[in-house]
Amino acid sequence: MAFSVTLKMLKNGVAELSLVGELDASVANEFKLAVEKAAAENAKNLVLNMKDLDFMSSAGLRVLVFAKQKMGFDVDIYVIAAQEAVRETIEMTGFHHSVIMQDEFIAI
């Protein structure tokens, strides 16, 4: 399934990126550009809605790392409603320590 990413600025400086489809190396750059855009908006929290993301490869994971570094240490990254396969990918590579995994977004 084709990949798409949309950025929506919510109140309180929350940037929400909704990811849809399959995220691999061929489309990872679109995700990266969206993260850069969110950073440019001075987002305080980055919320990644993964409800409709069916697959994430190593390239996708790398953009998560990029997001963490680009947004800075004060910005919390939330991974919301990740499907089982995507959740496992994040867990197996240990990245769940660096983000906040939630079923639905509740700011901490």
């Binding site: 691999d24 190396a25 061929s26 490869s57 190593s58 390239a59 994971l61 790398r62 790392v65 963490k68 570094q69 496992e88 990918t89 867990e91 197996m92 590579t93 240990g94 990245f95 320590h97 660096s98």
Partner: protein, 703 residues
Amino acid sequence: MERVDAYPTREYQGFKLRPGKSFPFGATFVPGGVNFSIYSSHATACSLVLFDKGQAQPKVEIPFPDEYRIGNVFSMIVFDLNYENIEYGYRMDGPCDPQQGHRFDSSKILLDPYAKAISGRDVWGQAPNWENIFPHRSLLVFDDFDWDNDRPLEIPMEDLVIYEMHVRSFTRHPSSGVKFPGTFAGIRQKLPYLKDLGANCIELMPIYEFDEFENSRIHPETGETLMNYWGYSTVGFFAPKSGLAATGKMGMQVDELKALVKDLHRNGIEVFLDVVFNHTAEGNEKGPYISFRGIDNKTYYMLTPEGYYFNFSGTGNTLNCNNPVVRNIVLDCLRYWASEYHIDGFRFDLASILGRDPSGYPLSNPPLLESLAYDPILAKCKLIAEAWDAGGLYQVGSFPAYGRWAEWNGKYRDGLRRYLKGEPGLVEDIALRIQGSPDLYSSRGPTASINFITCHDGFTLNDLVSYNDKHNEANGEGNQDGGNDNNSWNCGWEGPTTDTGINSLRLRQMKNAVAMLLVSQGVPMILMGDELGRTQNGNNNTYCQDNALNWFDWNLMDSSSELFRFFSNCIKFRLAHPIFRNRWHLSNQDRVGSGYADITWHGTKAWNPDWSSSSRLLAFMLNGKHARGGIVEDNDIYVATNMHWDSHWFELPRLPEGKNWSVSVNTSVNTPEDIWEVGHEPMLDNQNEILLGDRSVVILVGK
């Protein structure tokens, strides 16, 4: 400023190219593309072979144009590759003249020796397609893991307690309850267990890519599939084994292993790798072409004058470690693991081979060992040698150390085992072993001695006290494989028994073993599962068993909680007392004016050890004012060992005014009074003497 070398200068079948950089070797990302670099001293031509992931046939073969070769190095940048979907290899042409050492075969596609990840055995045990023209394929890997503030821990050598572990065995058993059994991710889920145990270093048995199907076969009687389970046979030195990663099928094994290292470090646990540089998975003349044989056979392997493979490793071939080219790849490899994976130390399998010259003779000053010892990136890594090889070189005590190398101390293992089973005439030997083997390492100090009683090779601790002889029938070699010099004693019955007397003696013997191990100077190493009395049913060579013979059975946590408690308290006791962790040998003299020598020897009479050839008793006292060479003050510690079949009274050396002996360990007493938590040791009523039950160990703390 934009780089001017980021643009293609040539096109081949739609692929955009430009001359590559010779350095670094392997495949490296550069702006817009990937730099491929490989060398061969004798190849006449080379092509880069690219596959789409999993495809039977290559998508393209790109010959290296002449001007893309500098010296013996072929290098090329290929632009616009989808790095997640590419598998690559090389095809080399050159002479095929085995007598001269050359075995080029241009019909073969070869794995990059510098491949940082390898596909083909993505999921452990999944039968491969045997018709695959390129079974082990090099993958492209990003070196951009998010380490946060991590770096190797640099725990001083003398403070380590090593736990030797097989990645798959640790969590593969259904009882492990982890989400990803048998993998790097699985170990992460068992961190609380490792913390409870208290070891501060895990040594992973081979994790370089290997082929579990190498020489795999069906046991003629049991029908069980026997595999290359342990993995002492390397396919690729730079790649973590995909089948040990839950993410192997997605090609993310690099990230998964790094995440494990990072998590272990966060919990104060170092990570050592057991590395196999003595031979490769290509076997002898009859073995497959995987990589080295087809790239530069004459350079990579030790060959007889007739062009056959020397077999100092016992596995068919021997890596030509002191050829300057091979030396460099070993160095590049270890630097890569130390810098990219933050590995804290390395244990070198059959390390004596690394000190042989290209014709097999032992060198007095082996350049490879020297390079490793003085390398700036490896400067803080621990280097540990298995100081022997299968060609008869035995260098325990004499391995070329350059002030850096430690050794698996086989003499410690043998001496302790024999003393433990009650052989007479060993007290002098034991006195040396307990002191960190000053007879072997006089100039190197006790940290040169990795003390162990059991390791993956040989019996587990439980089997050491349950079997007189090996029982390796399950290996399908007619019980001919595995060592016969086990120095084991079954305590009166071969194998499992319901006899409570025998079972309680076995438990006591296991406690005696670990107690002595953890009060010895040097670096203790424990075998995974010994803390729970893991058994291999008397099999002392389970290299091929992917089953319960190797898998750690977590149900033992209930049935063996007594032994676990004893182990973990012994570890904590050692780590609480610097007196056991001296960097330099004890002098047997009083150099700090304490009134006592740093170590004093005792027997049933204080100050009167029985060194006779019939003695099975030995006690010693460590004087607390001498801890760490007198830099710190610790408690006085008294350790008495009675390996005789009768109980004996031991007279205690008197402590200075105001101090009393408290009991930390007494293995002849029932749990929970067999061992006391650090700081909670009860004072002895009788300060003059203590009764040691038959075959038991007592440890007292003066406070």
